[in-house]
């Protein structure tokens, strides 16, 4: 900044220029990362399906994603007849944007934050998700295609419903850290929040996968029934934007898992050594989260839409609310033990046990319910005689 003002640039202009440069560098790095995420995703899915994956171009097929990009760019850019052109063209951009703006609040290292240390970081995640929802419904509607519209309907129904447990689970790290800022949440994690609230971490992961629209929640795509869901009519780079957006979104939510429950850039004090090390730690943790999301995607089968919404409204949402209340109550009751490091273990153990107890009771209730339902359908279970 000193250089720019030294060249005779007014201070305000220099500030704006530096701000834009920062955003540009961050977005450029993310897009380059995104190119390699395509390769990572294809390699990992190949291993899950007992294949090798891309291996022809370059070492370990590393140049494959560039070939994919060239293919997408030179592909014919089609617009379906009767499509609403403006909306149709805005939708992929909004989809990509909803992912990129998430990085504005991601704390990469103790003093490096995407744009600003907003003290509403946790809520900002949900707001960005709202724009993603909007992009999907725009894409589905403007394509003038019944499959696309049905896919968009399903996806939006899922996203709107799973937003509720997700928002509720975002409040749990907020309770522990006494702040909604993501940086403050990381700073407060002398003990990873996953030890204080393991069930919350699992619910957040489930809600995040649903929000991403990945299997087992990928009803929007449902290729056996809907061709490709909301992006059926998109071709070339417009489809590429949806696809790249989805991959980066998954990676980003891996990062949020790390930030909210696994200590973010903190790793036994290593983050204090160098900012680059801190960034490496958070990227590594984000990749682990991303890998778990891929693991779930390529292992589980798709769930039927009514089961999925039933699961959310009848199980996940009540559980999330009860969990939030229990956590807040236990946090208030055990607050006295939290300050002293000698009594810290009582606090941690209390939080952990109460959390697991709530999760276990919820599973038992769900099991009893499903047993009753099954009996209604099948009649009383015959006792096996051996």
């Amino acid at each position: 900044m000193g250089i720019l003002t030294g060249w005779g640039m007014p201070e305000i202009a220099a500030q704006i220029l530096i701000g834009f440069l920062g955003i540009f560098v961050l977005v450029a790095l993310l897009m380059v990362l995104d190119i390699f995420l395509v390769w990572v995703e294809r390699k990992v899915v190949a291993r899950f399906q007992d294949r090798i994956g891309p291996n022809r171009l370059g070492p370990w097929g590393l140049i494959q994603p560039f070939a994919d990009i060239i293919k997408l760019i030179i592909k014919e850019d089609t617009t379906p007849g009767g499509a609403d052109k403006v909306v149709y063209n805005i939708a992929p951009m909004l989809s990509m944007m909803s992912v990129l703006i998430l990085w504005a609040v991601v704390p990469l290292a103790p003093r490096i934050i995407g744009v600003e240390d907003l003290n509403i970081g946790a809520l900002y995640i949900i707001a960005a998700g709202a724009i993603g929802t909007l992009s999907i419904i725009m894409a589905g509607w403007s394509s003038n295609n019944k499959f696309a519209l049905i896919g968009a309907f399903r996806q939006v129904a899922v996203m709107v419903s799973f937003e509720i447990p997700m928002l509720t689970m975002l409040l749990i790290p907020t309770i522990f850290a006494e702040s909604m800022g993501l940086n403050a949440i990381i700073e407060a994690q002398d003990i990873w929040f996953v030890w204080l609230a393991p069930v919350a971490a699992v619910i957040f992961l489930i809600a995040a996968i649903a929000e991403l629209g990945r299997a087992p929640f990928d009803m929007a795509e449902g290729e056996s029934e809907l061709v490709a869901g909301f992006n059926t009519e998109y071709s070339g780079m417009k489809f590429g934007m949806f696809y790249a957006g989805e991959l980066l979104h998954a990676f980003t939510f891996g990062g949020f898992m790390a930030i909210l429950f696994f200590g973010g850039y903190r790793f036994f004090g290593l983050e204090q050594v160098s900012a680059f090390l801190a960034i490496a730690i958070i990227v590594f943790k984000a990749f682990i989260g991303y890998w778990i999301i891929m693991w779930v995607k390529y292992t589980l089968l798709r769930i039927r839409i009514d089961h999925m919404l039933g699961f959310n409204w009848k199980f996940l949402t009540p559980l999330a609310f009860v969990l939030l209340m229990v956590t807040a109550l236990m946090n208030a009751l055990l607050a006295g033990y939290r300050d002293g490091s000698s009594t810290m273990w009582i606090y941690v153990l209390g939080m952990f046990l109460s959390n697991v107890a709530v999760g276990w009771i919820a599973l038992e209730v769900a099991r009893a319910y499903s047993r009753r339902e099954r009996q209604k359908v099948e009649g009383a279970k015959k006792v096996a005689t051996t």
Partner: protein, 170 residues
Amino acid sequence: MTGEQIIFILTALFTLGSGFMVVTSRNLIHAALWLVSALFGVAVTYALLSAAFLAVVQVVVYIGAIAILFIFAVMLTRKDMRDQGPQMNSNWWFGALLSVLVFVGLFFLLQGWNGLSRTASEIPAGFDAISELGDALISPDAYVLPFEVASVLLVAALIGAVYVAAFNRK
């Protein structure tokens, strides 16, 4: 003119323009999408006022929930979403009169208010707006009663919606 004023004027024009398009657009879905952009403009205005929490809540609640439900409802009601009829009905002069009266009333009211010419006091460093807001919402001296009344109203609406949806099937 400061940078902030330029941004404010652009935002205000964007919001008002979107609002105008909401009522004049003939395609219902387009009207809903223009509504989204108008609501987004309001969120930007909140952000300019350093009310980050309100800005984000505006996006979450109005764009994420209400506008999406609007679009959903519009898509479920009609096949052809283009409105062919006239956009004015015979009461247009009454509406125009009412809005002119409101404008004139506000104009005279704001003439006597000195808030427009005052500069806002600086927000002190370390001021945590969310904590203040949270305290105000549940403090008996401040807004606990309106807050609770609003919650009860929303719960009543929720129960009503469930009742209509679940128990009115013939």
